[in-house]
């Protein structure tokens, strides 16, 4: 009760409410602009949050998170260009609806589905995260090491076609995290004699370089304007009651799917929206209408991608293990504010957890209010030429990065990270595992080395600590099960053809 009143007191500050509103509005605008998305929005917001108090900075981040995931739907529906990859499935039915004159219905369904997806995932987050956190209090260094390794392995194995490239990205991320002081001895490593690197590579320039600067470079050299001249009918209109009934069922189911996928490391909102869309189509009495303007398709995609927000925060807040780059950025921002996510957060700072939940709840209300009222305004954003937008992004990103440490060296690091981002994209190496590797690398290292000291390299400890043993088995299963299944499938296929 004391925690709840403390959370409400944090929210009741003028700064927090303004930050939340700016977050939702800014998030929607960034989500609307193709090429920019939640990762860039949060990476660019981190420098601002460092100069804010805890309450407004959390409000800003949560508003940006929810708002930017929702914002992508607007562009998908109106111009058939997904503002974010997570809203690509929304375009399948949203754009055909807009073309036949039902753009306002599509936007209304997308807005309501996004908000309800967020609400439902929030309820699941409230129920599941405390249980996971109290269970995780039994974790020692070896268990934490395996949990972090499990998240890393899941992210690497997400797309089996690019496992090697994802592994390379994760290793680069881990290596970058190792620059600076050794966590056990304190001696410096991999600094190449550069004094400024002796404290390690700061997160903000790395993130801004990898996400914002590399994106700006690609957008500028693409040199195509995003200016759309003619927009379909937009505004607010509810569908018929019969359609609404079907849509409600789809929203509920997709929200649960989205939350479950959000909890899994690496899957993220894009996978959630596609899985939910396929499920809605599969279970629909009229599957042929999908792809031709069925509001259920819009509802499925939008409810699930926003439900990922709550789902992804379950392992992030309770274990301190981020499931995707967006939650990794949020965790980094919380750490920079002095809040350490993990099981102890629930025991020691439950008011902060409640405050995060409350801001997420208000973010979803903000999505409904600003989403429905501002439709005409958001479409105007699409008419701003790319070249002007990118110039603005560079200035904001650069000045934001400088303001964190008042350091010119950080700006050089930001450009170096931008170069790394460009090279990775040229080499078709994904950035997501790199960020997760950068965040989880130190967690793996410190816990592994602590375990080595504690258990003197005795592997039998896995037998005496069953949670660690189970986690180890889980990692092996995740790695080898698909390989074994594939081998069995090939073997049985060969046997069948020989018969």
């Amino acid at each position: 009760m004391v925690d709840l009143s403390s959370a409400i007191a944090m929210l009741w500050q003028f700064d927090s409410i303004i930050a939340l509103m700016i977050g939702v509005l800014g998030g929607i605008v960034i989500g609307v602009i193709p090429g920019l998305g939640p990762s860039i929005a949060i990476a660019m917001a981190i420098p601002f949050t460092l100069n804010l108090e805890l309450a407004p900075s959390i409000a800003l981040l949560m508003g940006l998170y929810g708002g930017s995931i929702y914002g992508g739907a607007i562009t998908s529906i109106i111009v058939n260009v997904p503002g974010t990859p997570a809203s690509a499935a929304t375009a399948f039915d949203g754009y055909p609806m807009a073309k036949r004159g039902d753009g306002d219905i599509a936007l209304t369904v997308a807005t309501l589905a996004s908000a309800f997806g967020g609400f439902i995932s929030l309820i699941i987050l409230m129920m599941l995260a405390p249980m996971l956190a109290s269970f995780a209090l039994r974790f020692g260094p070896i268990e934490m090491c395996f949990v972090a390794l499990f998240a890393l392995v899941c992210i690497i194995l997400l797309d089996r076609k690019i496992i090697l490239r994802a592994t390379i990205a994760a290793l680069i991320g881990i290596l970058l995290a190792m620059v600076g002081p050794d966590p056990v001895t304190g001696s410096t490593r991999l600094t190449f004699g550069i004094f400024q690197l002796s404290a390690g590579i700061p997160l903000v320039p790395l993130l801004i370089g990898l996400f914002a600067i590399s994106e700006v470079v690609f957008e500028l050299t693409r040199a195509t304007s995003s200016g759309a001249t003619k927009f379909p009918r937009i505004g607010f209109r509810l569908p018929d009651r019969s359609i609404l009934k079907r849509v409600n069922r789809t929203i509920l189911k997709s929200s649960i799917i989205g939350t479950a996928i959000g909890i899994l490391p690496g899957a993220g909102p894009t996978a959630a929206s596609f899985v939910s869309y396929s499920e809605a189509k599969r279970s629909s009495p009229d599957p042929e209408s999908f792809g031709k303007g069925n509001p259920e398709g819009v509802a499925a995609s939008e409810a699930s991608n926003n439900a990922v927000v709550g789902g992804a925060l379950v392992p992030s807040l309770s274990l301190g293990i981020p499931g995707d780059p967006i939650t990794a950025l949020i965790l980094a921002a919380l750490v920079l504010q002095g809040v350490i996510p993990g099981p102890r957060l629930y025991a020691e700072h439950y008011d902060v957890v409640l405050y995060i939940l409350t801001t997420l709840f208000l973010t979803n209300i903000g999505i409904v209010v600003f989403g429905l009222l501002g439709t005409h305004l958001w479409t105007r954003v699409l008419q701003i030429p790319n070249q002007l937008l990118m110039a603005g992004v560079v200035v904001f990103a650069t000045i934001g990065t400088f303001s964190v440490n008042n350091s010119v060296f950080d700006l050089s690091l930001m450009i170096a990270a931008g170069l790394l981002g460009v090279l990775l994209r040229l080499g078709s190496i994904p950035v997501t595992p790199l960020i997760i590797g950068f965040v989880l690398g130190p967690l793996v290292e410190i816990n592994l080395r602590q375990s080595m000291i504690l258990y003197a390299g005795d592997w039998m400890v896995l037998w005496h600590r069953p949670i660690a043993g189970l986690m180890f088995l889980l990692i092996l299963t995740v790695i080898f099960l698909p390989i074994i299944k594939e081998s069995i499938r090939r073997l049985s296929a060969r046997r069948w053809t020989s018969q």
């Binding site: 600067i213 500028l220 070249q387 560079v394 650069t398 000045i399 000291i453």
Partner: protein, 157 residues
Amino acid sequence: MKQQSENGGADRFDRAATRITGISIALLALSVGAFGGLLRPERITNFFSATSAGLMPATVLLALVICGIMLAIRPGKQRAERFTGREIGLKLLALLYLFAYTWILSALGWLLASLVLLVSLPLLAKYRNVAGIAIMTVLVLVSIWAIFVVGIKAPLP
């Protein structure tokens, strides 16, 4: 026939690009290991001890070298996004331009340096609407001033 030869060429291009990527990663990892001080005697002694500062970086670098070699040997069937030499050059030039901005930022201060960037960047990217550039420039500079100088009172260059 033409289609077939184009596809054949495309696959060769993909494999060659992946091989170059793999070799570059392996070489880069080796150089980081060599020049990053990991092979110094005090780092090599008690290498497998939990207190060895070089254990994890060396393991990660070794894994990177192996992954790089594997990528070079077995490039796989993944199609890479195509870029011409000119496109890559343009991207590097754009980065150089952004680096120059960060450099003049400390020399000229945020206001002048950002003004130069906000005007020159759209022009260099072939956007010629002067009114649009002027509006955006004023909007961004006023926002920066309002947020950083008045709002959060952050130190600016």
